[in-house]
């Protein structure tokens, strides 16, 4: 690649960047490309979205998943003096 990355290569680097630091050369070229390419800007956001949504799905509050009332019932049960 002579100083320009294709969108395809940029997508690979955007994924790689989520796992490890990129080299200086790739970092600069990625930045230059992102500055002028809207498609790749959107891909960047989407990849970040996939990552954070996965975290939310696996780590998130149960009440985002379950019926809203369940956690309330649990709290009420626990607070009962016994």
């Amino acid at each position: 690649m002579n100083g320009r990355h294709s969108c395809r290569r940029v997508a690979e680097l955007l994924s790689q960047r989520l796992d490890e630091p990129l080299g200086r050369f790739d970092t600069i070229l990625l930045r230059l490309h992102l500055a002028i390419c809207r498609n790749c800007q959107h891909v960047e956001k989407q990849l970040e979205g996939v990552k954070s949504l996965t975290a939310a799905l696996f780590e998130g509050d149960a009440d985002l998943e379950d019926e809203p009332k369940k956690p309330m019932a649990h709290e009420a049960g626990d607070r009962r003096p016994g």
Partner: protein, 215 residues
């Protein structure tokens, strides 16, 4: 007469009975909670392991730990947060066990993701179709639906690709550990993760964003 009975109860039993009823109700709500937790843990374990019997075993171990330590555990984290943390450790240990070293062989389905990626680009590496911006979910209900779509998309990933993705994004393995455990090159590992993320991005695009615009 009946209302008199109900409101005052029967003399000495008056203090014992509501307490017993409260305890029974508490046990019942805890059972329901455990059942709900079990379902959630199973869904997570199946996605991360892709082996139903093994997933059941790890979830069972997790629930035993939850019940055993329940009296020690109080407050801070909700039961599900706590249960998921235990399960996560168990799944990570399972992946780190020596027996799992030989496990990842990419299948034809995993390889077929290459076509999914190829289809996005022209020969010169430019996108065939414009990539739209994703809208943020507008409320909690939308957020919930979005997570549910993601869950379907994760389930749709080819088996080994799904495992590698979950090892990285849920279990938090560094890529060099994933490569080492799976006996694949760093380059291969990057490619698997890149294809997984691209497939998920495209799946979310189709099933969530496009479906929202054209229901």
């Amino acid at each position: 007469m009946k209302s008199f009975e109900d409101s005052t109860g029967g003399g000495s039993a008056v203090s014992a009975r509501p307490a017993a009823a409260a305890a029974a109700a508490a046990t019942k709500s805890q059972d329901a909670e455990l059942a709900a937790l079990r379902q959630r843990l199973l869904r997570h374990a199946r996605l991360a392991i892709r082996d139903h019997a093994q997933a059941e075993d790890l979830v069972q171990d997790t629930l035993i730990a939850v019940v055993e330590q329940r009296t020690v555990h109080r407050g801070e984290a909700s039961l599900s947060t706590w249960g998921i943390a235990i399960l996560k450790n168990k799944v990570a240990d399972w992946y780190r066990s020596p027996a799992q070293r030989r496990m990842v062989q990419l299948g034809a389905q995993d390889e077929s993701l290459e076509d999914t990626v190829d289809a996005l680009y022209r020969a010169n590496g430019v996108y065939v179709d414009p990539v739209p911006a994703w809208q943020q979910p507008e409320n909690r209900e939308e957020q919930r639906q979005m997570l549910s779509v993601l869950e379907q998309c994760l389930g749709g990933l080819p088996q080994q690709t799904g495992r590698v993705f979950m090892m990285r994004e849920w279990l938090g393995f560094e890529t060099n550990e994933i490569c080492e455990r799976l006996k694949v090159s760093a380059e291969n590992c990057r490619t698997i993760l890149h294809r997984a993320r691209t497939a998920l991005r495209v799946c979310m695009q189709h099933r969530w964003i496009d479906a929202k615009v054209n229901p």
